[in-house]
């Protein structure tokens, strides 16, 4: 019984629960990665309490709240999309997926405007001793006011943390586009929706991280 040699993957029965377990482990690495940021934030907040509160006042709570609601809604549509595919309604699933992508994009657009406003106010890339590059530099803009170190740290952290969060939103949105195409092709269906499920888990984790980012930057002024 000599037979055609098969690639080793062919001998694996597909273990959906195992794959999900592995994906959760990957999510923990994301959690710890942001966890390091939260540690840095807390340490500097405790050292520069006044500066952090002052700096946080320049962030617009309304925009932050709107973005939170947008992201929570996108999580809801993601759940509904997975729910639809489990019931075999691929069309509905795709619609909800599109909603999720649209909400994610809306989040990014609003974030983009917020960032742009901060750039205009010279709140980025500025250091207390005036040795700085970028648009906000007092060297380039002699009129710009100097920020104390605590506020520079606040805005540095704000840009890095929301920036890396936004990067995750972009990755999630691209992934959802792929999932959309696969659903349209039929390779994601009632009996095989693991990819959509994991994409959803990723999206919800990004949401969880925002749930903590939001009060730390917008509410504790």
């Amino acid at each position: 019984m000599s037979e055609q040699a098969l690639p080793i993957e062919a001998f694996h029965h597909h273990d959906e629960e195992g794959t999900r377990l592995g994906f959760w482990l990957f999510l923990f690495t994301e959690l710890l990665l942001f966890g390091a940021f939260f540690i840095i934030y807390s340490v500097y907040r405790s050292s520069y309490l006044g500066d952090f509160k002052l700096a946080a006042e320049s962030l617009n709570t309304t925009i932050g709240t709107v973005n939170t609601i947008i992201l929570l809604s996108s999580s809801l549509t993601m759940v509904l999309s997975l729910d639809a595919i489990k019931r075999g309604a691929s069309g509905l699933s795709k619609t909800f997926l599109l909603f999720t992508i649209a909400l994610g994009t809306a989040f990014l657009v609003i974030k983009g405007f917020e960032w742009a406003a901060k750039f205009d106010h010279h709140l980025f890339l500025q250091t207390s001793n005036g040795i700085a590059a970028g648009k906000g530099s007092p060297l380039l803009n002699p009129g710009a006011e100097m920020l104390p170190p605590g506020q520079v740290l606040f805005f540095g952290l704000y840009f890095i943390m929301t920036g890396i969060h936004a990067l995750h939103i972009i990755i999630g949105a691209v992934w959802m586009l792929i999932v959309y195409a696969w659903t349209a092709r039929g390779s994601i269906n009632k009996d095989n929706y693991g990819v959509l499920e994991r994409c959803g888990l990723y999206w919800h984790l990004v949401d969880v991280i925002w749930i903590f980012l939001f009060p730390l930057y917008y509410l504790v002024a």
Binding site: I8, F11, H12, G18, G22, F26, T29, F37
Partner: protein
């Protein structure tokens, strides 16, 4: 009945277009091939870093006033940085899990492969990519921050390219370490899922061999600690290219915070290095004693508690940094707890040896060497964990000797012993016993004569990372003893690598399934293992180290691998 799965994994087996020559290895998702590829790459880097280490020791032969200069002062920092970065990030952190974990873990639990074979290959590619980046980066730019990248020096220093001009080799290296980190994270995820989901029928958690247990504990550290250091290193890169000052005191940042984040990973990481080697020792000792390991459960649980306690003690690297005294006291106190599970293991190994009929195979010699060296390394760690002695010994050669005793005399000896132990199973070839034992003798003697003098030097105040030292008898004599030791160790390493290469090229072929007569599952299959590891579904009915039942099974011909013979 020649099916694809019954061929040796070493023969060309895929039907894909990647079935010729080296590509059939580089594109293979077979855990055994990936393990061997890791082995070759890692030990090449090991050889390179040993040469750098010898060079460093040669420099130390001459005091400053002698006029002899092997490494000029401005290159000395770059030399030990390169030595450390290669040894730590490219050799000992991937270490035993990458080589023997990949190869043996599925065999030990009766699985056909790891849970995500393609992710496993991705890990290896990330490792290769990161390794090339790190080595190119440091060769072009001569970074001299040490492997700890401590700011503010790592933020402010600018390295000069050897080809002239500015080359930011520190950012390169930081990014490379970040990429290497993702390689080990993915390996860790793979192993945890494999252990939870792919054990053979009857392989309960407490029937798993101890090497698998130690890999399990180490994998959790890789998953939960690596991201923290990854992001801190990326923040250093950002600080280098943008004027933000997270860790730069002139911009309001706190450099000690970086050290916290760095050691949150890098302290548990030393257990990523040592735990798998402890697991290998726990395999080698019962095999060569032909009796059950003493206190199986306590060793398994000790592995997990070492990993757990390992999380709580990172700041004992930072007693002299200006951290708060309260924190120093808490961390010093917690540090002593890690000695408990470690000592449990050592006593269990010794109790296993008691009244056993011991065979001194090369693997066993290295395992015994491990126990000796690691006991010294562990006990001197207690000196350093005590606040007052640490003030005296911090940043001296004493620390250098301490961590070489744990990392080289411990982790690397364990890994080398493991490779000697599993060599015939992996390749179906046998090495020369005489050469193998000679390599142990030289390495053991050389290692101890290299590093014992460094304890004394450190005690007398010889700082680490210094290119030179004053011309005083106490320094001269011990430095010379240490350098001569390094030559003996060098001969040992050359013997080691030649023994392996000779065995691979012209070693005696063997298809003996179980040359050391071991009772664990990985030996109960063909040598070298077939592509799918086991010919039929295996079912486990006994404890892994139950030698009495094992001998009965072999006599009756009912052991798992009996059909293969």
């Amino acid at each position: 009945m020649e099916t694809a799965g019954s061929q040796s994994y070493l023969s060309t087996h895929t039907s894909s277009r990647w079935n010729r020559g080296l590509l059939s290895w580089f594109m293979s998702t077979d855990h055994k091939r990936i393990g061997i590829m890791y082995g070759f790459t890692m030990f090449s880097f090991f050889g390179l870093a040993v040469c750098l280490g010898l060079l460093i020791k040669l420099q130390k032969l001459f005091p400053g006033s002698s006029g002899w200069e092997i490494i000029p002062p401005e290159m000395y920092g770059a030399t030990f940085t390169l030595h450390a970065v290669i040894m730590i990030f490219l050799f000992i952190i991937p270490g035993a899990p990458a080589v023997l974990g990949n190869f043996m873990l599925p065999l030990q639990i009766g699985a056909k492969d790891v849970a995500f074979p393609r992710v496993n290959l991705l890990s290896f590619w990330l490792y290769c990519f990161g390794a090339i980046m790190a080595v190119v980066g440091i060769l072009l730019g001569a970074a001299d921050t040490g492997w700890t990248f401590t700011p503010p020096y790592s933020i402010n220093t600018r390295s000069i390219s050897i080809f002239g001009g500015d080359f930011d080799s520190i950012s390169w290296m930081l990014t490379a370490v970040f990429i290497l980190g993702w390689g080990t994270i993915l390996t860790g995820i793979n192993f945890i899922v494999t252990i939870h989901r792919m054990r053979a029928k009857g392989m309960t958690l407490f029937r798993m061999p101890l090497f698998t247990w130690s890999i399990y504990a180490a994998s959790w550290i890789q998953v939960l600690a690596t991201p923290v250091v990854g992001i801190s290193l990326i923040m250093i890169v950002l600080e280098r290219v943008m004027p933000i000052g997270f860790f730069d005191p002139t911009k309001g940042g706190d450099p000690i915070l970086f050290q916290h984040l760095f050691w949150i990973y890098s302290h548990p990481a030393v257990y990523v290095m040592i735990l798998p080697s402890m697991g290998l020792v726990s395999e080698i000792i019962p095999t060569n004693s032909q009796k059950p390991i003493f206190g199986y459960k306590s060793i398994a649980i000790a592995s997990c508690s070492i990993a757990g306690v390992g999380y709580l003690i990172w700041a004992h690297h930072m007693f002299t940094t200006g951290m708060s005294d309260t924190a120093s006291i808490i961390f010093s106190f917690l540090t002593f707890f890690v000695a408990i599970p470690t000592a449990i293991k050592v006593f269990n190994w010794l109790a296993t040896l008691y009244k056993a009929s011991i065979t001194l195979t090369p693997g066993m010699l290295f395992a015994l060497g491990f126990i000796f060296n690691f006991s010294i390394g562990g006990l001197t760690g207690m000196f350093l964990g005590s606040l007052s002695t640490d003030i005296h010994l911090h940043d001296t050669d004493f620390i250098v000797a301490h961590f070489h005793y744990t990392m080289f005399g411990g982790a690397a000896f364990g890994l080398i012993g493991g490779i000697y132990h599993y060599f015939p199973k992996m390749f179906g070839k046998m090495y020369s016993m005489k050469w193998a034992k000679a390599s142990f003798a030289f390495m053991f003697v050389g290692f101890n004569s290299l590093f014992i003098p460094m304890f004394v030097l450190g005690f007398y105040g010889m700082p680490r990372r210094y290119q030179t030292y004053p011309d005083m008898p106490i320094f001269n004599h011990f430095q010379m003893a240490s350098t001569i030791g390094s030559w003996i160790l060098g001969i040992g390493v050359v013997l080691l690598l030649t023994t392996w290469i000779r065995a691979l090229l012209s070693g005696e072929k063997t298809s003996e399934m179980n040359p050391w007569n071991s009772s664990t599952l990985e030996w109960q299959t063909a040598t070298p293992p077939t592509l799918y590891n086991f010919e039929e579904e295996v079912e486990i009915t006994r404890h892994p180290y139950d030698y009495e039942t094992f001998r009965e099974e072999v006599k009756k011909g009912t052991s798992i691998g009996a059909t293969n013979e």
